[in-house]
């Protein structure tokens, strides 16, 4: 479960997020929607305790990001958007195992976990190769496996399908489905309404740092009387007057 209460974040004079509140229930796949620069990454960084909220409070799995950041860190796995960060001179296996050891996992447990993840993401062919020359999709798979190595309860995925081809994006969506079956709480950010619609029932829509809507997609459709997703998105954004 993730609870965001009246959160603001400023960088110097610039306000990146203002008075944002929403709630992700345990076991839910929740969408965080917004255009470039809306504040999605900033929000996820605060949930991952990398940045501190300027105002307001965030609770992850029942722990405050301010008061008990280490408890939060133990329970989350985060995949940062954009170019995924991997150690290019290490193999895929070494990359994943390194993060496993950061969570205090034993060698054997890490080995077993990597086998499972490798099957899940079909990485067997390149598991023991250095990641430097990997394609975008291969790197993304390694990065997601790394995010999941310690089997976190709460999974934060910042634009995870950006740059993936159709096949890779499909594999990825299947994995999300399986994680949901395992009862994981998943927050998924994207600037693509169609993408969100395939996976999430409920969303938060942010525009230029302000929350425009939080709740069920169905409700949003009913509220604006529009079926077409892109049109719906544009209507909400234009209606914000920002």
């Amino acid at each position: 479960m993730i609870e965001v209460r009246k959160v603001s974040k400023t960088f110097g004079a610039f306000t990146a997020l203002e008075d944002v509140s929403f709630r992700v229930e345990a076991g839910e796949v929740y969408g965080l929607l917004g255009e470039n620069g809306a504040g999605k990454t900033t929000m996820m960084r605060m949930m991952a305790t990398i940045l501190k909220p300027t105002e307001g409070e965030i609770e992850v799995a029942g722990y405050s990001v301010r008061i008990e950041p280490d408890e939060v860190r133990r329970r989350i796995g985060i995949l940062f958007g954009g170019d995924v960060g991997l150690y290019s001179r290490l193999t895929a296996r070494e990359n994943i195992a390194y993060f496993g050891s950061m969570y205090g996992m034993e060698k054997q447990a890490i080995g077993e976990r990597i086998e499972r993840l490798s099957q899940m993401f079909e990485m067997g062919a390149f598991l023991d190769r250095r990641v430097g020359p990997f394609s975008r999709g291969m790197k993304q798979k390694v990065a997601i496996a790394r995010t999941l190595v310690h089997d976190p309860d709460v999974i934060l995925l910042d634009e995870p399908t950006t740059g993936l081809d159709v096949t890779a994006a499909n594999i990825f969506r299947r994995v999300i489905g399986r994680l949901q079956e395992e009862g994981k709480t998943i927050l998924f950010s994207s600037h693509n309404m169609g993408e969100i619609d395939k996976l999430c029932k409920r969303i938060a829509l942010i525009h230029k740092g302000r929350l425009q809507f939080a709740g069920a997609l169905e409700q949003l459709r009913a509220q604006y009387g529009k079926e077409d997703l892109d049109e719906l998105f544009m209507t909400v954004v234009e209606g914000s007057g920002r």
Partner: protein
């Protein structure tokens, strides 16, 4: 748990580094190859210049005298009569011009003083050498005539030489070889300690931040200072490797190279001086590592980091150069309290073979203090929000 994280990070950094051939070349091979190379060039050009100066001494002599016999005896000498002797001297074809005035021998025989003119080029080391050997011969000839005159007057040579001074130098063999080494080695060591870590330090924070791995790492439940400790150790290892490489090549050079050494040997060290040297170098390595990691953190990008890093090399060079010509007894007391200066000063004392215990205590104590300060400061920066994310 505590140590396993440090160990895991350290292990990963070293593995990553070992696979990065460029960095290894920089820290290990370059000092190992470049130091001897530079020395060899310097040394061989120096000794070949000197050999050339001795082997050929072309001079021009005008006028005649019995003195000529003396000059002919100079090894390697040859006599020339160029059309424009002054121009030939300027051009280096002649090393010296000797002008013997008319009635030179007559004047001497009459018991008077005769003048001799020697022209040379003080900017040319070979010409200076020629002047020296000519002077030697002329002095000997002059002395010989003086002895004859004294004898004729019924006096012995000792009559005009009441004092005979004998100069002996007291520095031991170790001290003398130390004197030379105390100039060069601290410079080499300190500069390679500083330069050995810069590529790694820049990569370990600014590089990881730019690639996004630092952010992922910091979202794991690991204390920032353990991550920092592991990175500090990695940088120190690279610094020390680079310093060791320079030291090894220097030692080889001094044994086999063209610069004659008066036996640089381990006998130079006592267990105490060796211990002080090792402690001094480790503390310097830790100081530079801390400083470099801090700059890596402050830098907004890897590129900016590289600029900062070159400043560290300057910081290392300034005290080394300033202290190079100074004898340890002339090093001002307060130098033993200034960062980097204290380490260089102590290293100098070690190579002179004698450490003032007070200097040892102050130098090592303040070094330790600066290491603690820089690491504490760096750790505090690391915990500050925003250091780990790309701006």
């Amino acid at each position: 748990m505590r140590n396993t994280i440090i160990w895991a990070v350290f292990q990963k950094e070293m593995r990553d580094l070992f696979r990065d051939h460029k960095t290894w070349l920089g820290t290990f091979l370059i000092p190992l190859v470049l130091v001897p190379f530079v020395f060899f060039l310097m040394g061989s050009s120096y000794s070949s210049q000197e050999q050339e100066a001795r082997a050929h001494v072309p001079i021009a002599v005008y006028g005649s005298s019995d003195l000529l016999k003396q000059l002919e005896a100079i090894p390697g000498v040859s006599f020339h009569q160029p059309s424009d002797p002054n121009q030939a001297l300027q051009a280096g074809q002649l090393r010296a011009i000797v002008r013997i005035p008319d009635r030179f021998d007559e004047r001497l025989e009459a018991g008077g003083t005769a003048q001799l003119h020697v022209e040379y080029d003080s900017t040319n080391q070979k010409s200076v050498y020629a002047r020296d050997v000519i002077e030697e011969r002329v002095m000997a000839y002059s002395k010989q005539i003086a002895a004859e005159r004294l004898q004729a007057a019924g006096l012995s040579e000792t009559a005009i030489e009441p004092i005979e001074a004998v100069y002996e130098q007291v520095a031991s063999e170790e001290k003398r070889s130390g004197g030379m080494l105390a100039g060069i080695i601290p410079l080499m060591l300190v500069v390679s300690l500083a330069s050995g870590g810069i590529a790694v330090a820049n990569d370990l924070i600014a590089g990881e931040r730019e690639r996004g791995t630092l952010e992922a790492l910091m979202s794991a439940p690991i204390p920032a200072n353990q991550l920092l400790t592991a990175k500090l150790l990695t940088v120190m290892i690279m610094s020390c490797t680079s310093a060791t490489a320079s030291l090894v090549s220097l030692t080889l050079i001094l044994h086999f190279g063209p610069i004659a050494s008066q036996g640089f040997a381990l006998s130079l060290f006592t267990p105490v001086t060796l211990l002080v040297l090792i402690l001094t170098l480790l503390l310097l390595a830790a100081f530079f590592a801390g400083l470099e990691l801090m700059l890596s953190m402050k830098a907004k990008s890897v590129k900016e980091g590289q600029t900062y890093m070159s400043a560290v090399i300057f910081l290392a060079m300034i005290p080394s150069y300033m202290l190079m010509p100074i004898h340890p007894v002339d090093i001002p007391q307060h130098y033993y309290m200034i960062p980097v200066f204290n380490g260089v000063s102590l290293a100098k004392e070690v190579f002179y073979g004698k450490i003032d215990p007070m200097h040892g205590v102050i130098g090592l104590g303040t070094s330790l203090l600066y290491v603690v300060l820089i690491i504490a400061w760096t750790a505090r920066l690391f915990r500050r929000e925003g250091v780990v994310v790309k701006p």
